[in-house]
Symmetry: C2
Subunit: 250 residues, 2 copies
Amino acid sequence: MGGGAVAPRYDERMARSNRQRTSRRAVYETLRRKVLTLELPPGAALSENELAAALGVSRTPVRESLILLSQEGLVQIFPQVGSFVSRVDPAKVADAQFLREAVELAALDDLPAELDADLVEELRRNLAEQERPGLDLEDFFELDEAFHHALLRLSGHGSAWATVVSAKGHLDRARRLGLYDTATPTGFAAQHVEIFEAVLGGDAALARSAMRTHLRAVFDDVERVRARSPELFAKDTGSVPVRRNVVVWE
Amino acid sequence: MGGGAVAPRYDERMARSNRQRTSRRAVYETLRRKVLTLELPPGAALSENELAAALGVSRTPVRESLILLSQEGLVQIFPQVGSFVSRVDPAKVADAQFLREAVELAALDDLPAELDADLVEELRRNLAEQERPGLDLEDFFELDEAFHHALLRLSGHGSAWATVVSAKGHLDRARRLGLYDTATPTGFAAQHVEIFEAVLGGDAALARSAMRTHLRAVFDDVERVRARSPELFAKDTGSVPVRRNVVVWE
DNA sequence: CGACCAATGCTTGTATACAAGTGCTGGTCG
DNA sequence: CGACCAGCACTTGTATACAAGCATTGGTCG
């Protein structure tokens, strides 16, 4: 360790550089979005070379993104064989459901007596948006995410949301499959309102009950779509191979 | 997509190659262990080049491992600056505590009427081991992990353990700091027995109560050690830099 | 005609070279 | 003596080259 630099100080200066606008982050977010929106369907082959060429970068950031997605369970990497978008694994979906339910219900038990006014207002606006007539499905998903996240923040455990998010990847994809059938998920919006009003009224038991009903309803959708599109689910090992789908990168 | 290979079939043949005995996996597990055991203390600088040289591999697997650890929150990467073992963030510790409590308590609510005999026997042996007189601290940690994991499997949600594990990294480090003070954590072993007997007796409420007490006791240890070793915790941005610790790789 | 098998294209894993950026250091100038 | 500033050493990010392995393919042999 000769003359040069040593470990720099560990202060908030680094927090600035935390805004990693690296190429890897861009690729990671792009791929993750395409997987969650089913633009890259379960079972699709992901070639590092092809993705790199299509995205205009080298293999390195693509590869590192795939490794991250692999740890999230959204991608499976088979050494010397290939990488694939994970099929929807019913067991993992059930796990995500269990975890999400556990966390969100525990949060409802932990609500403070005095609710944060700003968050309540944010939730109110969110619910109003959800009931807008010509609502896009993608917008509804964003609102749904924000609703549950805000509810978690209301209990002071907002940062636990990140863990839920990374765990519920499989659940999200399955939900999306289910929601593409129903034209507009008005039922879910109504359930959201029910939960919110129970929270406002301070009725923890009712809030729990409503939340559980809501989350179970989402889960039931998964089983419904599974009967319709079994090839997107795992465990049916002998199913259709789903050969190299032609992926267009606009 | 000319002549050669296409996407191979997606069958159980691949499950075999899932045994990734790659160099990256070895490096990842080594680094993760050293971080969790505090052999690489919070704040320590991690140079990709140094680690690569010490481990006898190139930068690539080291770098990819650091990226994975970074996503777990155990390592912080600052582009063009350096990588460091994350300091113990009290907020993240609290999050991990909340998440763990939510999941494990929910599992206790979900216990089947008929308990799996093999798992019960496994738990019994585990608890017997925990009360062995001259128990190593590292062994106790392993037993503790196995105990909670088995309890989760008893409720049929064993695979949710993986998420808890990755989320509770910060909690584990903090616990380890706390347990290095107390000579032998006999108190925790006794609490384990209490939980187990409540589960066997079918008393869900008592099991919940005992589990909550147990997990809260672990959490309190964190605050205790924080008063003693503040430099290992974050938020005190002006604290000691902790310069490039000399890490020996035996 | 069927079974076997080598050639070939692809895949990911690893190693290395180069690029861009940061912080310390030490000399220099006012 | 103090402030400034150029240079250097080190960092991670990215690109590329090479290595090892699997699966399909197409020919050959029985």
